[in-house]
């Protein structure tokens, strides 16, 4: 299943609040 990753955490928080959803933030050292 493909994941539609966002690269803007603040935008994700704003959308999560509006849509009552959780936010998953994945920190990685792997190359983009």
């Amino acid at each position: 299943m493909a994941v539609d990753w966002s690269r803007d955490v603040d935008q994700a928080f704003a959308a999560a609040k509006e849509q009552s959803r959780a936010v998953l933030l994945d920190f990685s050292a792997a190359p983009a």
């Binding site: 990753w5 999560a16 849509q19 959803r21 959780a22 933030l25 994945d26 920190f27």
Partner: protein, 133 residues
């Protein structure tokens, strides 16, 4: 809502969210409150179970006990072999108790935990709920 943070692209985020190791995965509720922090690699099953438990935690904190029970039940039934399963079994019962105030669910889960996951810390935490006699 998944967000990616690579150390070279977003170093400030590592500082902002106190991510001191990779991989680190954080789960926030809809108000931006951190509810789960996973540091280090997990198997797929343990990862899925931990995230699902996290959704249960979010629902529980918001007093959405029926939703919390469903998330924890999902962990117990789908990821029963995961490290999150005993905790999910414990919190599923606590969510049920919180919704109903039926204390028998606590003694029941204590029996279940000591039988199914006897070496788990959650079995120890449930010991005070065991029926005496």
């Amino acid at each position: 809502m998944p967000v990616e943070a690579h150390i070279k692209e977003h170093p400030a985020w590592f500082h902002r969210f106190e991510a001191v190791w990779t991989p680190t995965v954080l789960l926030f509720d809809s108000h931006g409150k951190e509810r789960v922090r996973l540091e280090g690699y997990l198997t797929n099953i343990d990862f899925m179970a931990a995230l699902t438990s996290g959704l249960g935690r979010i629902a529980f904190v918001q007093k959405k006990y029926a939703d919390a029970q469903r998330w924890y039940d999902d962990v117990v039934t789908r990821f029963g072999q995961s490290h999150s399963a005993p905790g999910a079994m414990y919190w599923r019962a606590v969510a049920r108790y919180s919704a109903t105030h039926d204390h028998t669910v606590l003694s029941k889960v204590a029996e279940e935990l000591t039988t199914t996951y006897p070496s788990s810390v959650w079995a120890s935490k449930a010991i005070p709920w065991l029926s005496k006699g």
